[in-house]
Symmetry: C2
Subunit: 348 residues, 2 copies
């Protein structure tokens, strides 16, 4: 399949305009949905259709394994949709382990009455996104819940990635003096979803930053950067990610507000509605914690790999006090706490 492909829905819409409970019942209708729509889109060989997929990992390689469910509302939003999110989100979690996504599973929970055409759009988006990540969808599952007991489509993806280097990337790798780098401006995804959901009329539409992160991570690894930790900035935004790292590694982290990129559009909406962009979710942004004298080169490599606005935003300080200190634009220091409650529900 090539980018932007638009084939007609392989389930005859005239016969089945909407998903029915029987499409999850284990009989002929489910079989048809799986073989005609899913196998076709995901390039699965029906003859190998079995309860699971058999994989042969490279000899001696470590693997990364992760999962995420996606319940984003609405299903389609500026800059992306639930299908892209489900593939990139899980591939990005693998990238944060320093792993290249290889094999994905897709589990659908469909609501009775979902237009078949909508499902087909989502399935095509999944297929295309997996192709862009270089990953293969090897196994899946389909359930249908009664009308009113779902919200169109929920998707779970799990992924297995291959780790092709010897670094131990994780919170335990943080060292005093390490540089904290962010790959681009914050808050686009959360604000794009909210604007769409609330029907905000913005002068310039804000698009989600939803994107695969492996090319940027790979550029640093292949460029010889000593990467100590990676963390994507999803629910809870930069602030929650840094607090999690501080807590898991027992280090103080220090960041400078003036260095943290936020686009004027996102900043304007945040100011209008009282959101703090440091807490708003992204879907194509991450922090990289790298050896301090590799920081400049890491920023260059990120830029060359397509990172929109890579910036050195701070550093890892001494061990023993797990907290995040933000130096504000006016020069005062304050503790940047984790989000306590809920800012924007169901953004992923």
């Amino acid at each position: 399949m090539s980018e932007g492909f638009q084939l007609s829905c392989p389930i005859p819409i005239r016969d089945y305009p909407n998903v029915t409970l029987a499409h999850g019942g284990g009989g002929r209708l489910m079989h048809d949905l799986i073989s005609r729509m899913f196998f076709a889109a995901f390039g699965t060989n029906a003859a190998q259709s079995h309860d699971g997929a058999v994989l042969v990992p490279p000899t001696g390689a470590r693997l990364a394994f992760t999962t995420d469910s996606y319940v984003v509302n609405p299903l389609f939003f500026p800059g992306g949709n639930i299908g892209e999110l489900a593939v990139y989100g899980t591939a990005n979690d693998l990238a944060m382990c320093g792993a290249r996504a290889c094999w994905l599973s897709v589990g659908f929970i469909l609501e009775e009455g979902l237009p078949m055409e909508t499902l087909w759009q989502v399935v095509q988006a999944i297929a295309l996104a997996a192709q862009k990540c270089g990953a293969v969808i090897v196994t899946g599952d389909t359930k249908v819940v009664d009308r009113g007991k779902g919200d169109g489509v929920y998707i779970n993806t799990a992924g297995i990635g291959v780790i092709e280097h010897d670094l131990d990337i994780g919170p335990a790798g943080l060292q005093e003096g390490d540089a904290i780098i962010v790959n681009g401006d914050l808050g686009r995804h959360g604000i794009a979803i909210m604007a769409q959901r609330e029907g905000l009329a913005l002068e310039t539409e804000i698009e989600s930053d939803c994107a695969p992160l492996w090319p940027q991570v790979c550029a640093m690894l292949e460029g010889g950067i000593e990467v100590h930790c990676l963390r994507d900035l999803t629910r809870g935004g930069l602030s929650s990610a840094l607090n999690e790292l501080a807590s898991a590694s027992a280090h103080r982290l220090f960041v400078r507000e003036a260095e943290i990129p936020v686009s004027p559009g996102v900043r304007a909406v945040c100011e209008l509605l009282g959101f703090d962009p440091l807490y708003v979710a992204c879907e194509g942004r991450f922090v990289a914690i790298v050896k301090h004298d590799h920081a400049e080169r890491a920023v260059e490599l990120l830029r060359s790999a397509g990172a929109p606005e890579p910036r050195l935003i701070g550093s890892v300080q001494q061990k023993g006090t797990p907290e995040v200190i933000l130096r504000s634009c006016i020069g005062t220091n304050r503790i940047l706490d984790m989000l306590s409650g809920e800012q924007l529900p169901r953004i992923c």
Copy 2:
């Protein structure tokens, strides 16, 4: 943890009697739920908390990978609950690939308002079931959807298993003359769910057959049985499983109704309500297709490994006509077709 452990809910019920949207928001409440409830139950080391788990598979081993979502209604039913189902179901799919379940992911989609105590019961059931399977829950995800947009809890599990033998177990392995064996009586799970859901007052309660299948599969493999294919009898029951195998392998399959075990209780409910037990879902039953002269020994091994009623029920016939022939109790042959629509929705 030992069997039947009952610890009190680690989230203070007084403060949080129910799941709130904020428990999925990425902030402090979600963090607390994950670290205090999930990490505690699943034995996760919080210091390793990261976007994914890093695994080191045995050198040279093939792996199996599978996923299933669970939307069963009600969450608790005679003989099991959604948590056990989510672990055994995925471990069983791996067993059907001839793989021992090693690593599991758990993704929760929680409905706002779910009693915290209910979640805790489910989480404990998951932990205990994983322990019984010898599998470790290494990664997970939590989402919360608005009240009315879910149905208490939906769970996705994905699993990775290790294949420790050289057999290629799958539909492509079917050969003319192979024996078709079932490990026990059919239909308990579907009927148990339906009886509970519809409030049927049965003289003797029918319990789900929900159980891990790996010990039985392992007994055959270690006993030197040439296993050609395995398939668990979930949605669509024996009939759909055999039709899928016939279709994927292009073989005619022949089974004798008189040899297919169905308990009197299940048979009585089926007759009363017009269900055919050959189409009713099980959660602890499978068919094994084995080399024909290994059949007797396979039945013995299954029995010794705890299979409730292992029986040789038929054979694989010639290639070229993918269909399932049932010889009825009165001696006539008929085509056993795949379930066309929906018999019992949301049984798993």
